[in-house]
Amino acid sequence: MQARTALIAAILSATIAVGIVAADVAWGLEVHIDTQTEGGWETVASSPQGESHAYERFPHGCSGPDLRVRVDNDKPFGDTFDIRISYWDPVAERTQVVLDETWSLDAFEGRAHDFTIPDEAFPERNETEDPKLFGPHSLTIDVRVDEQFLGPCVQREAPQ
């Protein structure tokens, strides 16, 4: 193999490797957690961007009891993944599983699951989280989509 050919092949291989990774990162699964407000659905947390903006939206950084988990497949090809939604019920002292399924999405397809945390699951006093930050009557939900994880808090009253 001539030197010039080898150099071109090396550059091409590196470009393909970096390009594949960049495309996968850009075209991935996006997970959003929306809460029902008076003005409609508003996003409280997203992945892979993280949850930091949740605390900028609501007073205690929590969503209301009416939630929607949206998964958007931004890739130009289909994907199959496991999704699990659960929360620790501090009143019943057990893990409540809301959803535990395997979803298949086509290219650029999205899917959502709506659910409501029942009133009786909210504690009178939140002993595990900082009440100043999360509110006195709140719990956290556990949303796992493949390798992504979101764990926003949920309070009994819907945010204004």
């Binding site: 193999m1 030197a3 291989s13 990162v25 991935g28």
Partner: protein, 138 residues
Amino acid sequence: MKERTLHGSLTFLGFIISDLAVLYFAIEYMPLVSDWTRVIALIFLALMFAFLGAYLRQTVLGEPFFEGPRLRWLRPAVVMYLSAIITGIAAEIAFLGLDGIDRPLKILLSLVVGIGLIIAVATRHRKEGPEARPDQQA
């Protein structure tokens, strides 16, 4: 024996840094990209190292670090080949860790690729004839 200690040390450092980057990508980068993306990217990274080694071998950049007859084989191209081997091993480990393929198929494909590689190189080596040993080269 004339020794290029600084050149060899810096090359060895570059070798360690680049291979650590590859291993970090292969292991720690798991949550951000899919398994297949990781496997394919590692394969192309291994090819990149191999092609860079082929490039260095044929240029003045690929001069050996040591002048003595015993260590003339140690040159930047060989370091690149070693990096290609390590990256290839990481790609194989990532491939064997894939969930979407049956285990017998993964084993069969790995054997086909591994044995095929050996036979292909041996066949090409026989056609081209053995190369002169480094200490016999001008």
